[in-house]
């Protein structure tokens, strides 16, 4: 069998060159050994985040970034589960839905203040995840994926059928804006700062988490469960913990989604959303916290742009999905970054190879 030489320069790398240069500005540094503790980069991201809506004052763009932020919160939670702990979940949309419906029911029916509902949604999603995760997290691979997918479908059926509570397929309307201490987030600009503020908080939390003992345990579980168990990590507990955490993130995202869109209907929480979120994590790169956010922005923009093709959007979306998976199976940032490194190290290597020294 011929060993496949991955590090070889290929002609199509030339075509990667210019988008790579563009993306290398936007995307985080993919090489983990070059990661520094702080964080000049973080300040740049933060400044860009704060200034972005002021520079581009297009309301549609603001709304898009709000949606991207919500997706990014979802993807961040999933990235802990998928990217760090290495477990597959295709049911994340269900936790998102649980968050959204908790907020919808608490605010419209019982007139709770929205920040209380915000917390309660995350708690509801986390409790649900605890009881779901306890039995199914012993599964692996395909079977875990299908079990979580099945949970998502059960959630959808229950939402459609419990008409007295969830209003069936029509959904719940008139959820009030997110309000905190008398300040109502009623414009796209305010919502933008709200969402990305929440996201920044959760990102900070996750960054600290993955450097903690528990975060290291995630990586150990992903690498090898037997090895992790042999050094005294309780694998089942770690998996359950990260699943519950991801669900809580989704609960936050769902709550924000409900109060910003002011509706909650079952169509929004189907398999397509779960697939989209997993794609965000894959494209962002596994085991990377900035990646899912970049992936969320990219895919939200992509789906919005494809909306212009109306009935052709779904076939095109399917094809793009497959192409992205074929060309970037381990994340756009990673692959592009690696290619970039190989590319700039290619010419000297070739010279040496020609001289017979390599």
């Amino acid at each position: 069998m011929v060993e496949e030489t991955k590090k070889e320069f290929r002609r199509r790398d030339l075509f990667y060159l210019w988008p790579m240069w563009l993306l290398s500005i936007i995307l985080p540094d993919p090489l983990p050994h070059r990661k520094k503790e702080f964080k000049k980069r973080d300040l740049c991201y933060l400044a860009a985040l704060l200034l972005f809506p002021l520079v581009w004052s297009d309301p549609h763009l603001h709304h898009l970034m709000v949606l991207a932020g919500i997706n990014a919160i979802l993807a961040l939670g999933l990235s802990l589960f998928l990217g760090y702990a290495g477990q597959i979940s295709l049911g994340h949309a269900a936790f998102f839905g649980i968050g959204a419906y908790s907020t919808a029911i608490l605010t419209t029916r019982y007139a709770f203040p929205s920040f209380v509902a915000f917390g309660a949604s995350a708690v509801a999603a986390a409790i649900m995840a605890y009881f779901i995760g306890k039995p199914i997290l012993k599964l692996k691979g395909y079977f875990l994926a299908v079990a979580t997918l099945g949970f998502g479908e059960i959630f959808l059926v229950i939402v459609r059928e419990m008409r007295s509570l969830t209003n069936g397929v029509i959904g719940i309307f008139g959820i009030p804006w997110f309000t905190f201490a008398g300040f109502s987030f009623d414009t796209y600009l305010k919502q933008y700062y709200l969402i990305w503020g929440v996201l920044a908080g959760l990102l900070l939390f996750s960054k600290n988490l993955v450097r903690s003992k528990m975060g290291r345990a995630f990586l150990a579980v992903a690498a090898s469960e037997d090895a992790a168990a042999s050094i005294g990590i309780c694998v089942a507990q770690i998996k359950l913990g990260v699943f519950v955490l991801g669900a809580a993130f989704s609960g936050f995202a769902g709550s924000l989604f409900a109060s910003i869109m002011s509706t909650a209907s079952p169509d929004a929480f189907g398999l397509n959303l779960s697939v989209l979120v997993v794609m965000m994590v894959i494209l962002g790169g596994m085991g990377n916290l900035y990646g899912p956010i970049a992936g969320a922005i990219f895919l939200t923009w992509l789906t919005d742009m494809l909306g212009r093709f109306q009935e052709y959007s779904l076939p095109i979306y399917g094809v793009i999905l497959i192409l992205l998976l074929i060309f970037f199976p381990d994340g756009m940032g990673t692959r592009l970054g690696m290619r970039f490194v190989y590319l700039i190290s290619y010419w000297p290597k070739k010279k040496r190879r020609d001289e017979g020294r390599l």
Partner: protein, 295 residues
């Protein structure tokens, strides 16, 4: 009227439905026997079989010819799927393969909606609509066609995998990839063939079912998932397991209608899935893959 009086009728419709799940499950098993891939596009093959036959019939072709052409067409789609999607991704992780087949499923269903229209379609029954009465239970002749074809396909697959060298080579390339390589089996070709066979099974299932249940561009995903559940329930990786699981799932589902609101019917299969994965992941008949792989 108590729910008990309708039990025989529910049983008969459950058996028909079960035969469909069994056929879809057989498709999953065929691919997993050759490559340990789980192909979530299986349900779309079923949908395409029915929808393409409907369009060909509308175009004025005779029934048998339309069936034949649509089966060949779906098999070609299966081959294309393997060549264009699965083959480039053969060395990646499970997650990527799941996402790619889900993407392909999305593409196929939405394209079929575009090309063949989004209205639900029903094929004419193969042999009249006069229902047969067997032991006081009404059974449509189409159900007997479905049961018959399920039985025939089971025998054909048994012969393929136990009596031919090709079938043995397919199974070898899944259970022992290195051994298969060493004995000169082209694993890529085996996976390629398995996709064709499973697409063919899916298309046949779709065509035989379409006279009983309406077929439409969006039925594929759910049907595929239920077929997968059937295969897991019976015993993952066994043809007989897929058949048994299919009938069991169909009967459970249609009996459940007697006792709970019919809107919850779609959730039953997934509840069954979660229960079987929790209590007995090998399935009813046991699975050749699950013990060895430590999933």
């Amino acid at each position: 009227m108590t729910p008990w009086t309708n039990i025989p009728q529910f049983l008969s419709s459950g058996i028909t439905m079960g035969a469909i799940y069994a056929l879809v499950g057989l498709g999953f098993v065929t691919i997993s026997r050759a490559s340990q891939i789980i192909n979530f596009t299986q349900g779309e093959f079923v949908m395409l079989g029915g929808v393409i036959t409907f369009s060909l019939l509308k175009g004025g072709l005779p029934y048998p010819l339309a069936i034949l052409i649509s089966i060949v067409f779906v098999i070609i789609i299966g081959f294309l799927l393997q060549v264009l999607v699965i083959h480039p991704l053969r060395k990646t992780s499970v997650l990527i393969l799941i996402m790619a087949t889900l993407g392909a499923s999305l593409f196929l269903s939405s394209t079929s909606g575009l090309v063949f229209g989004t209205l639900p379609k029903a094929l004419p029954p193969f042999s009249g609509e006069q229902p047969l009465q067997i032991l006081g239970v009404l059974l449509s002749p189409q159900s007997i066609w479905v049961l018959g074809v399920t039985f025939l396909l089971l025998i054909a697959l048994y012969l393929l995998s136990h009596r031919t060298l090709l079938g043995k080579a397919m199974e070898a390339s899944s259970t022992d990839p290195l051994g298969a390589d060493l004995s000169g089996i082209s694993r890529n070709f085996m996976v390629f063939l398995a996709f064709g066979v499973s697409a063919g099974i899916g298309a046949i299932a779709g065509i035989f079912v379409a006279p009983i249940f309406y077929t439409s561009y969006n039925v594929g995903t759910l049907l595929g998932l239920k077929g997968f559940i059937a295969a897991v329930l019976g015993g993952w990786g066994k043809n007989s397991g897929a058949i048994l699981g299919g009938f069991a799932l169909g009967i459970i589902e249609s009996l459940s209608v007697a006792f709970i609101p019919s809107g919850y019917k779609d959730a039953i299969a997934f509840v069954v899935l979660l229960l079987i994965l929790y209590l007995r992941p090998k399935g009813i008949l046991g699975s050749p893959f699950i013990d060895s792989r430590r999933w």
